[in-house]
Every structure is written in C-alpha cells, then in structure tokens.
Symmetry: C2
Subunit: 637 residues, 2 copies
C-alpha cells in the first residue's frame, strides 16, 4: 500500500495497491496522444462551449439565476451535466497546460453556474423553480443527482489541480444539501442514473469530509431495493433489480451499470468493504468474458442502451456507446489501482484505442454517440448546424439532442495521461504507452523518466531515465495480453509479475530500457457462442482492432457482400492488407435456400485501417468481423 | 377479371384477377384451423372483452359519452383501436358462427362506442374534450386517424357480413367528418400511423361512396412529403421520407410500412394507378428478399419496431411483431388478388403458420407481442393479473400496456378462412390447406366442394366435389414453393400455371382430387449476407419452421451452447429429431481468441418442435437457427 501524496489524479482512493499520478507528475510530450490532447484543447473544448452557448444550455443557468427560466428550459432535463463535464475537461486542461485565455473562459463559466445555486445549496436548471416540476419529483428519469454528480466531479478536478475556489464551494454546499435531503435522516431514495456515488466518494477524498463518503455508501446500499418505479423498462434498466453486492454481471443501461460499479468500488475501497469490492470484480469479469465487444465497447441494445444477454453481441446493432466505453475505463482504472492486476490496464488500452477514440472525428469537432462494429449503409453527412439523434446512420455529428458523449470525450482526453502510469514507494508502473514524461517522488527520492514510442502503430517503446534515486528502483512495463515474444533490452534483471515486466536496479540518467512488441497482424476468432460473429474473424495489429471500409474496396462494392481469406493477411510499408472476395448477387427472391453454396464475383487486395479511424473519408460501409472465405478453411484443414 | 359478387371478404377490390370468397362461401369444418377458430371464439374474444373492461379501456367510451373523461383517460391514447379490432373480430365471428350471446355482447359494445360519437362525427376518447389535447394536435403520435381506421374496418366487417346497422352509420359519419377535415378543402396532413388509407378504400367499396376512396388516395399521395415532424426517430419511421410510389423497399416501423402499402395497393387497384401498384410490388419483392425472417416475421429493431437494413436479421433480437406479420398477410393477400401470383400465397402460409400463430398461447389467453427466433434466457412467467411490456423476456402475457396484438390475432383468426381460397368465373383456387368447405357460384352454376387434410403436420390433401356445373370447371391447387415432387391424383388433366396446379374438367359429386406433398424435413441455409445466421441452418418440415427448445435437451443445457449435425435430421413417428452437441465451457476470460477450435461436452438426440408451438411448456431457451456442427461439414465435403 502506498500513501496518496500526489495532487491531481481523477481517482485517489484512501488506499490502493498502486498510487495514481497527478497532473503535475505525468505529462504527454507529443506523438499519438499529444496530437489527441492538442486537438481536444484547441478544437473540442471550444466546440462544446460554442454549441452549448448557441442552443441555450449555458443560458439556462443565467435565466435560472435571474428567476426567469420557468418552463422555458433549453434542451432535455439533464443538460446541466454537459456544462459540468466541460468544466471538468477545462479544469484538467488547465492543470495540464494553463493558458490565460482558457482560465478566463473557465472562470466565467463557473461564475454563471454558481449564480444559479439556490440558498440551500440546490442547483438545477430544470427542477424546483416556478413553472418547473418540483425537486426530486422524478428520481427515475429526472437525472437531478446525476447532474449534481458531474458538478462535483468538475469541482474535484479543480481541487486536484490545486484550486479550492468557486466551484469547490458550490460543490460543498450542494453536497451538504444532499446530506440533509438523502442522508441518514433524509429520504430513502436513489437517482435513476448513478453518478452521484463516485462523485461524492471523490469529494470526500478531496476534502476529507466523511459525510460525503457515508452518503455515497447509502446510495450504493439502497440500490437494488426497488425504490425506483419502472416505466418503459424493467428495474434492471437502472440496476434496481438486485443489490450491488449480490449482482454477478453487468446488466441494464450500460453507462448506468458502469458508473454505479465505479461508485461502489470507491465506497468499498474507502470503507474496507472487501465483499462489495469482490462483487464488483466478479461483475467486471463476467461482463468482460461474455458481454463485451472486441473493441472494448459495451451495450448490445439500442432500445435501452443496455447490456444484452451473455454472448449477445451484434456487430451491426452494437450500441457500444462512447460514454459506456469511458465508464468502462473509469471502472477498470479503479480496479487496477485496487488490485495492481494488469488485466484491467489491458482492457483500458483496448477500450480507449478502439472504442473511445472512435468517437471524435479527426478534427475533434464531431462525434459518434454509438460505435457500431458494422456499418451496413453508407449513411449520410449530418447537418453541421443541427442537433442529431444519438444513433442515426450517419457520419459523426457535431452535437446531439442528448449530447453526453462529446463532453465526456473532452474530459477524458484532457486527463488521459493520468491513466498511463502509477507509482509505489519503490517504483513506477507503465500501463499505457505513448510519448510522455514522468517526474515523481519515491520513498528514496526523485524519479524522472521519459517514454518514447511509435505506439500504437509501432511496437518499440523506449524508457529513458532522467533522474533516479541512488537506491534500487523497480520500473514495471505492462506486457499486453496480445503480445507474443516481447523483447526487453535493459542493463538490469527483469522479472515477470503477472503481465507486468519489472526491471529492478540502480538507474543512471540517460540509461534506457527498450521494449519491443511484434506488430504482426493477428487473426482473432469469436467464441462460438457469439452468434452474431459466427463464421467470421477479425484482425488485430498491436493494440488496434482493424476494419475494412468500403472506401478501400472497388467502387460499387459494399462490405455487406464480402468474404476474406484470413491466410492472406499481411502488413507492409503501406499498411495491412488482405484478400477480399465479393459474393455474386443472389439468384432468388427468398434469402433462405437448400444449398449453402455461394457464387463469387471477383476479388481484390484490400487495405485494412484501424477501426477507430473509420468514417473520416466520407460516407462508407465498414466492418470489423470478416466472413471467412472458404479458401481460408481449406488451408486451415 | 371477375366481378365481386360475394358479400363477406375482408378485402374486396373493385376489380381483381382473383375474386375473394365471402364468409358465407367458405367455412372451416374442423382440423387444425377449426381448433384455432374455436379457441379464438371461445377463449380469446372473451379474454379481450374482460381485460379491456377491467382496465377501463371500454369505460373510456362511457365516460366520454357522459362528458366526464377529461384528462382521466385509461391507457395510452390509442386504446380505442383495441375495442374496434375486437368489434371487427366479433363481426367476423358472427358472420362465421352466429350465437345470440355473442350478438348481444357485440351490440352492447357497439352501443357504448356509438354513444361517444360527437355531433360532427368525430369519435375519440383521448382528444378534443375538455381537459384533453385538442383534436389533431399530435398527428405524429396521437394515432387519431389510426383509431378511426380500425373503427371503419370493424364497420366494413359488419357490412360485409350483411348488417348495415349502428357501426356502419357511425363509420359513415366519421368518414364524412374526415372528408371535411382532411379532404381536398381540408388540411394537408396525414396520420403518423397509417391505417386510415385501407379502411377508407374498403368503406368506399362497401358503401359505393367515392369520396372515401378519394380521401384514401389523398392520404397515400401526401405521404412522404414531410408533413410529419420527426421527433425521436427519423421521417423514415413513419414512411414520410419519400412518396410511396418512389420507395423501393419496406422501411421504418414495420406495421406502419405494411398498413401503408396495403392502403396504397387498395387505392392503386381502385383508381387503376398501375404505377403505384407496381411500386408496392417492388417494395414487397425487395423486403421479402432481404428483410424478412424465415418465419415470415418482419421488424429487426426493438428500438423503433422497424425494418433493419438489407440482410440485418438478428435471430435473438428479432422484433418480428405479431401485428407486422398480420399486416404482411393483409398486403400479400391484396397482391394475390391483384396478380394471381401464388408467391404471395406462399408468404401468407409461411407468415400465418410461423409468425402469427406463434403469438397466441395454446389456450388463446396469452400472447407474444414480439416473436424472437432465439430466446437466450428462460425468462419469466408474467403475472396473469398485470399488464406487460411489449418485449419482455418472458412467456406469453395476458395483456399489454400497448396491446395491439391480441385483438389483431382475434380479428385475423375469426376471418382466417377468407384467406384460403378465391374464385374466378370458371373455377376456384385453393391457396391454403385445411379442413374446409366452399359453396360458391361460378359463371356456369353452383360449385361446392370440401377439403380434408392433416396439413400442416401431414402432406395429404383431398378435395372432394359436392356440386359442380355441367360445364368444365378449373380447380387450382397451390403447390408450395418448398414442395419437391408433389403428386397429384385426379381423373382430369392437370396443368401448371406458375405454382398453381390447375385441374380442369367436368366434375361429378363425390369425385376427388388428391395432392400429396412430401413432409421430409428440409435443411435450409441463410443467404451468406445474413450475418446473424452465418454458419447455421434451419429445419423446415412442410410449411413449418422447426425449433429446438431447451425443454427437449438434457437438464442444465441451454440452446446457446449447442451445435447440431444437419446430416442426422430425421422424421419418425415421434416427430423430428436431430443430433445436438454441447460446447464445453470457455477456458479464458476473454471471448475472442487466436484459435477457432471448440471443445465439446457431450451430445444427445434432440426433438424438434414447430416454432409456433414453443413456450407452451414453461420457461425455456429456444432457437430456430442451429450452429453447424463440424461433422456436418465433413460429411458435406
């Protein structure tokens, strides 16, 4: 166990096996992730500000403060949360790379939010004022506490980046109000959408106020006791069917399920409730084994944005919401800190690179809400000036009627470096690879190093020591689960601890550790219980899931009519490519036949691209799971 | 072309290639369909009456008439339509087998409906009265004209069974009101849910009033011009994206799509608009070839109850709504009358036996709203005293919050005999097989015959002549598309006209025609473009799609973990059975692997049952598409 001596991480348990690093301890210096953080700072933050100002979501606070909002609220009832996620993103960005311009924009926005807080601490633009539904009158779908949770998370980000200023005060007053309303002497109720749990646990960590932790614990314990009235969906939708500690897998609305599990783990860790922590681990294990897409995405149902049954993982109807991917990262990160098990870092890598990063367009100004694994129609180009629906068959959209994903991407990318590495008293652990530098303090002194790599497109990682204690230090490098025959070059002994390769020794400035991972494309088959992908394979290369996009096929071909020969997969200087065959048009007007035989109409060598990068070249069809061409099977046999 | 000289068919075009028979011309005498019609009459009709009285849907009319309903309307806004579909079912049942008891129940219910009609003909219990939304204030989702359409269809059923009484008067007044509101001088608008189109066309046919046909034509022509404001779904949802005559396939909400197409065909036929008729035929052809389940069911999305993209046909997420199956039968029947092409009768057979009949429980007192082709969890037993949601994972439910399916099943089964055969001036055409008798008049005199069969469970059909003209008559028998080597035994020459086998001659009373169809089980493969069923096969036997239900597997097995050896399928005296293998539990915590190999954990000989009969023995898992066991492939090669 190491003590938490850093300031700035998004999650800071009272105790943990691994210690998160703060915004001042780890900095991306460029490369793959540097580009993502720059686009996020320079394009996405302003994009979110622009849209929410334009469509009145920010203005809701001004009109609430002025007492003029009444029933004339802009947007659905939980758009406050988007402002808060933007504030959280800005706070992390300011901690990472402060500019005067951003600081002023941030403070101005905080001031508008703060002005809308009521005397007793309550702060919501959709409820409780004249002409609005009463406070807490629709806990099932009103999202009040969900919004509060995001406000609190934004305040925690500001606290963790060194500023105990306005938003922290607003959050404390709000949390104190919640203690009265929902605490031990308040109503026995929960919010339909979890989020408040982890935010209160974190606010407790950031402020030392134990009532907030106790309130988080109450919300977790009350869940699953049937306090919510189901409407269109069954109680499972909001995880109110069974208590958290009794559930054995993820179910219902995916974002709700994962936010709840994150909050439950925070409570479990800080209250030493190991039974609860174990329940969350079991849910993670079972959901990962049976309810997770190869991209790390989760959510198999459009209807209720929910997990499906075990092995119900349709590629073409994958909901795989961006926010659910982010929530999965949040949970896995907590479990990594709690256990030190690199399997959680493996899933973080997979989910970040193949689900979360698929959401933003290259320019950071349009987003996918859902992330299908098989696009059957080329879809349309959304109007850049209109709100989109969440699951339209189209390219990425600038903004949505329910727009949780863009701001969630923004806060995640602004703090993405904080998920890359951890420390213990005697060493550090590198969980994710990129170009970044670390400067932290171990038990025996200062450790500084930088990491350089062409990852995820290449497999060479170099860790160079800048400063080190004069006593032995352990530098751990995650060997990804997919890696075959990794090669480590170091002047010190390396030992394996699970999937962590630990190099221990006395390091000198300039000294380097090199890790080489083979990026040969890998053929991956789905479990035969996954009906939706039977008879197909996917290609992974390094940490990336690849896809075929129709833009890389001859004109007039769609991905719906192809098979591919797995044995021909090859990576060259121009990328990865594969032999693809086109099915002939069917000869009958009925798609069920007495013969399984299929005529072909040509074949071609097709380029494969990283899945996350698809749909950046105009409307196209796309698929990750490729139907097996009969030739592959002959060669297998 | 033959003239329409019969009274009682559900559809009676002004002209058609085939003439529908009326309720007085064709009568089911027993056997398979006799049982279904008896259960419908004795159990389902009363069940529907009981539920709608109990939960206040019928009472809405009383309170509307009394002026006391206000905002206190029971059920969602379109429950009036359920009363109307029940009235239609009762009317057909009275035409089929009048009892004094049913007649009194029918007249009493009609009186309560009629009392709620307003001075100007408007009749709805959810709109326009004090405390309610204004009339026509929510054409997108209010379903006002949808309800009117069902009222009119109920009136047409009464007219067609020989009674021009109260409901016909109510319907005329309502239609006259619609002419004022939506006619050439009225508003340029349509209802979000099509239904009014075919009902007005039919009312025009039944009354001779051409304004009703003209109004139906206006509604069809206005569709696709963007008069509806899309909300949660895109305009395609209610087929308002492109005009009917420009559309090339079925899309959007499946029931809406098929009701619209039925109305459009009625209009096209009665206005000699052959371009419009051809557009509907094209839509049928493309949707059947690419968007239809093997059961005939349609609708691949739960979210919007909609058609999916081409070949998007998930078995486990099949929505395949009962009402959509019924709508498909209604459309195919119209196309059969219009063209005489037996392919439409083939789809009617498939859809009735494998989709519509899967809805009612054996006792006719519980129903499936959706009809999945793969049930992954055993689900639950719904409370017999509570309303269910439409798509819960459970056994059939007694009633639903949106309860369109039970009453739709009731009206379909009460008139099912009317879809079995047609006539021309010189003969009759037997499209569906069962135990029934026909008594009609051809150009040269009376023709009476009866049909006896063990169909659909057996393949012998005997047509016995009871009375015939003294001139040659042609008796046509549909040879189902699935039939191999059908054998016909008759004393007269038989010629094939498409899939209709025509026996022509001078028939004598007592003379018989025998048709023998082989009921050997058939292995059926999906088109390779259907991703959801790749690597599987289905078994059909005669007109029935078969299924494996976990009740017929060893205890503890679910259908989610099996493969089957197609080469072992066999029909014996105890039914059809097949070798089924169980997959071993996976060895890893991640369901995507570098090897496609699968370990097995036992095999068994498993019974297969007709799909429509599943879920009558308690909670179970079930599947129609069976994953191919490797042994099948070896033997194929």
């Amino acid at each position: 166990m190491s003590s938490a001596n850093s300031n700035g991480a998004p999650v800071r348990p009272r105790s943990s096996v691994l210690r998160p690093l703060g915004q001042e301890e780890i900095r991306v210096t460029g490369g793959f992730w540097g580009g993502k953080q720059r686009t996020n700072a320079e394009a996405t933050l302003g994009h979110c500000e622009y849209w929410m100002e334009r469509i009145g979501w920010t203005g809701n606070f001004d009109r609430a403060a002025a007492g003029t909002i009444g029933g004339d609220h802009a947007g659905i009832e939980f758009v406050d949360s988007e402002i808060y996620k933007l504030l959280e993103a800005m706070a992390w960005e300011l901690g990472r790379n402060r500019t005067e311009d951003l600081e002023q924009r941030y403070l101005a926005l905080v001031a508008r939010v703060a002005a809308a807080q009521e005397q007793d601490g309550y702060l919501h633009t959709s409820f409780g004022r004249r002409g609005q539904p009463p406070r807490y009158s629709n806990l099932e779908f009103g999202h009040e506490l969900y919004c509060f949770g995001h406000l609190i998370q934004a305040a925690v980000a500001r606290l963790r980046t060194g500023h105990d200023d306005t938003l922290a005060q607003v959050a404390r007053r709000l949390a104190d109000h919640l203690w009265v309303e929902f605490g031990p002497d308040g109503r026995n109720a929960v919010c339909g959408h979890p989020e408040i749990e982890m935010s209160l646990a974190e606010l407790s960590r950031a402020t030392g106020e134990l009532r907030y932790l106790e309130l988080a614990r109450l919300f977790v314990e009350r869940r699953g006791t049937g306090t919510l009235r189901p409407a269109a969906f069954a109680p499972e939708y909001f995880q109110d069917d069974i208590p958290v500690r009794d559930a054995t897998t993820m179910r219902g609305h995916a974002v709700r399920a994962l936010y709840l599990a994150s909050g439950a783990l925070d409570v479990a860790v800080d209250t030493a409730d190991l039974g609860l922590a174990e329940a969350v681990q079991t849910q993670w294990t079972n959901a990962v084994a049976r309810r997770t897409y190869i991209t790390g995405g989760v959510g198999s149902h459009h209807q209720d944005e929910a997990y499906g049954d075990d092995y119900e993982l349709p590629a073409d109807r994958a909901y795989s919401e961006t926010c659910a991917g982010i929530a999965s990262v949040m949970l896995s990160w907590r479990l990594l800190l709690h256990t030190g098990d690199e399997k959680y870092a493996d899933l973080i890598e997979r989910t970040l690179l193949n689900n979360v990063l698929a959401s933003p367009r290259e320019d950071g100004q349009a987003f996918y809400y859902t992330n299908t694994l098989h696009q059957r129609t080329p879809g349309s180009v959304p109007d850049e000036h209109e709100l989109s629906h969440r699951a339209e068959s189209s390219l990425r959209a600038p903004w949505f009627e329910v727009s949780c994903c863009p701001t969630n991407v923004a806060r995640t990318l602004a703090s993405i470096n904080l998920y890359f590495a951890t420390a213990t008293g005697t060493g550090i652990q590198l969980h994710q690879y990129g170009d970044y530098e670390i400067h932290t303090t171990l038990d025996d002194g200062e450790l500084a190093l930088h990491v350089g790599t062409d990852y995820p497109h290449g497999g060479r990682i170099t860790v160079t020591i800048d400063t080190a204690p004069t006593t032995p230090v352990t530098i751990g490098l995650r060997i990804p689960a997919w890696a075959r025959n990794p090669r480590i070059v170091s002047g010190h002994a390396a030992t394996e601890r699970g999937r962590l390769l630990e190099v221990t020794g006395i390091f000198h400035p300039g000294e380097a550790i090199r890790l080489e991972l083979s990026l040969e494309p890998r053929i991956v088959f789905p479990d035969p219980r996954i009906d939706a992908s039977r008879g197909t394979f996917a290609i992974e290369r390094g940490p990336l899931v690849l896809a075929v996009e129709s833009i890389d096929l001859p004109t007039g071909w769609s991905v719906n009519e192809i098979t591919a020969d797995a044995s021909t997969i090859a990576a060259g200087p121009d990328g990865t490519s594969i032999d693809v065959y086109r099915l002939a048009e069917p000869e009958t007007d009925w798609p069920y036949r007495t013969s399984a035989g299929v005529a072909e109409a040509g074949h071609v060598r097709a380029r494969m691209i990283p899945y996350y990068a698809w749909a950046n070249r105009g409307p196209a069809t796309m698929r990750t799971w490729l139907p097996i061409h009969p030739r592959s099977e002959e060669q297998d046999a």
